[in-house]
Symmetry: C2
């Protein structure tokens, strides 16, 4: 069938095999590979839409679980949909909230029908099925919706992983049947925890369902990075060439780069915005904890050569002062830097693929990067 | 003597007598009457310098007490002064911190020498004299510094008010003698609490000292607005014509307008930014509590006709959602509106003076304004 969102593979990097593409959506074209900043509650924390444009954002992510609880999809629909509600006229992807139900809800019960959970806001009991989840996402009106999936923990038994995966597949089919909105595309979500065999089975099953794209879920839930890379290595040649591949909840510089090298087209993560509000900046070397005393009299920018507003206008000493004084402006400046850092990294990655030099780029990247200063991936909650 | 900051009276409104002027400063000219947004800790809360430019700010206020405690004037001096530290190349005024010592410090002891107080941050004991206060402000390097004054409470006895006033005068002279920085001007501060007689005496005493301008302190500390207006009425014809008059800590729309009608040229107040962070917008009618349930499905802007970013891009429903969800972006949008609201009000006031119609403007203003929805003045702390 034809999809509202369509992937076009421009080329593969001759050096690395990494994919360069374009994702065509109802709200415009997106270059891939791409990092998607996260606006969980219909705003990227501390940022305005105008600023998101300015730092070079092509697509935003928002969250079905959070928006369902507050302000509710009915209000968003009344406002004319999520794009209009938050004044963002470029593409949006809404995650289904499967991961949030898994990680946030005080109590949950998963049956074949769906999931019953307690709201983290008021403790009320709520039920979500694959179908009602699709209904919510259709009301929100993002360009890309995700199926409701069942996440496994790390570690988990093969038995549990298989069960969660099979339910995810059955739910994916139900979601697909329920999905009607013509100007929105639905992505399936690959599960299978840390079993390569299950992951490959999941990829094949979901590929047959002809989703507009595939999310790879259930990774970056606490496992070492190498385990995640192994899974990506195992599945990459089973993934359909003509569909976009979205590695969910992954968002450190090294993981983005390693993901692209393993055929991934899309990423999202709250890490960049979350650590920013605590005064930690993402940098080429891994991180810079701006609030540390060593930067008290440091009049250099967060990162030399960065073109963001924070780095072109303000010093570490000033931003540290703002963070220490609990000034919102401090959180804002580090947020701007962190988002621009990842967006710019992906601009460079796309350029490196275009010029068939992504392995060279990786070598240069690791010359600066200090793994001991790096983050593990921060899951999106 | 010649001052680094010099006031030029352009004209008086033929209808009301209100003053239209220009304040010449080392960092450029400021039109008066003017509202000065408050950047207590070297940032206007939730705003960047760029945004402050964009909403039409001509001069910012910062605070000696707060900056002395954190990050310390030595750091600011090392950074090249407050303008450079916070990336603001227009004029800055630093308040002396007399009011903060009066209202914030856990414990304070005032002697003829100066004031000993406990830091509100770490409880450490600190001493500030009129001379050391000037030293701090010279290190900060604002265009305008204020003398350290002694505030009285409301209500207070004539005896206490006289004593505080006389000490304020003696301290003003000491501050003036200590002040050496040629690219900075020092303003005196009129005290005298709620006694017209004392206030007039204070104006005359300070006028003789030839400060570059006069602050009117110790008002908006809890007294009814009418009492403040009476004091302003009583002193206005005793104030020097050729010096700017700054009504300290006053910042609601009606008080600004009434102040201008009584010859005031400069105002500051944290009210606009403080209430914004709690979801309350300043409007022509007094206030609009955006977080209230009645705006949940209201897709109008905060205020029709407002030219600020929040009003031209976002709805009450969206901003309410952000405020309810504790999103920084919500606080930011209301802050932008509130500051632009007061800055724009003063643009209109200046225009009304220019066209000799400020009484007409006042009549139109009160046709919309609901005093029961208005704020009392919020003192700057």
């Amino acid at each position: 069938m034809s999809h509202a969102v369509r992937f076009e593979l421009i080329k593969r990097c001759a050096q690395s095999g990494a994919r360069l593409g374009v994702l065509h959506t109802p709200h415009g074209d997106i270059p891939t590979p791409i990092y998607m900043p996260v606006g969980t509650q219909a705003t990227v924390k501390a940022m305005t839409s105008r600023e998101m444009h300015e730092i070079g954002t092509h697509i935003l992510l928002s969250n079905t679980y959070h928006l369902h609880l507050r302000p509710g999809e009915k209000l968003v629909e009344k406002a004319g949909g999520l794009h209009k509600f938050m004044d963002w006229n470029k593409p949006i992807l809404t995650d289904s909230g499967g991961f949030q139900v898994f990680s946030l809800a005080d109590m949950r019960k998963i049956t074949e029908d769906g999931v019953t959970f307690r709201s983290h806001l008021d403790g009320s009991s709520l039920f979500m099925s694959p179908e009602s989840n699709v209904d919510i996402q259709q009301a929100l009106g993002a360009d890309i919706a995700m199926v409701l999936d069942v996440c496994s923990a790390y570690p988990c038994s093969e038995e549990d992983a298989r069960e969660a995966m099979h339910r995810t597949h059955r739910w994916a089919l139900r979601a697909k049947r329920a999905h009607m909105r013509p100007d929105q595309s639905l992505f399936g979500i690959v599960q299978g925890a840390f079993s390569k065999k299950l992951r490959i089975e999941s990829v094949k099953t979901l590929s047959d369902m002809d989703f507009a794209g595939l999310g790879i879920g259930g990774l970056s839930v606490g496992e070492p990075k190498d385990i995640m890379y192994d899974i990506l290595d195992a599945i990459q040649h089973h993934l359909p060439e003509d569909k976009p591949r979205y590695l969910m909840g992954v968002g450190t510089a090294d993981c983005l780069l390693e993901g692209v090298l393993r055929g991934i087209d899309m990423f999202d993560c709250v890490l960049a915005t979350r650590v920013a509000r605590n005064g930690t900046a993402l940098t080429r070397t891994g991180r810079l904890v701006v609030r540390n005393a060593q930067y008290a009299e440091d009049f250099a920018p967060i990162e030399e050569g960065c073109d963001c507003y924070a780095c072109t206008h303000h010093t570490r000493a000033y931003i540290r002062h703002l963070i220490k004084a609990n000034e919102i402006t401090g959180a804002r400046l580090v947020t701007i830097h962190n988002l621009r850092f990842l967006l710019r990294l992906m601009e460079e990655v796309r350029d490196a693929i275009l010029h068939d030099r992504l392995l060279d780029y990786r070598r240069e990247f690791y010359q600066q990067f200090d793994p001991s200063a790096a983050f593990n991936r921060g899951p999106e909650v």
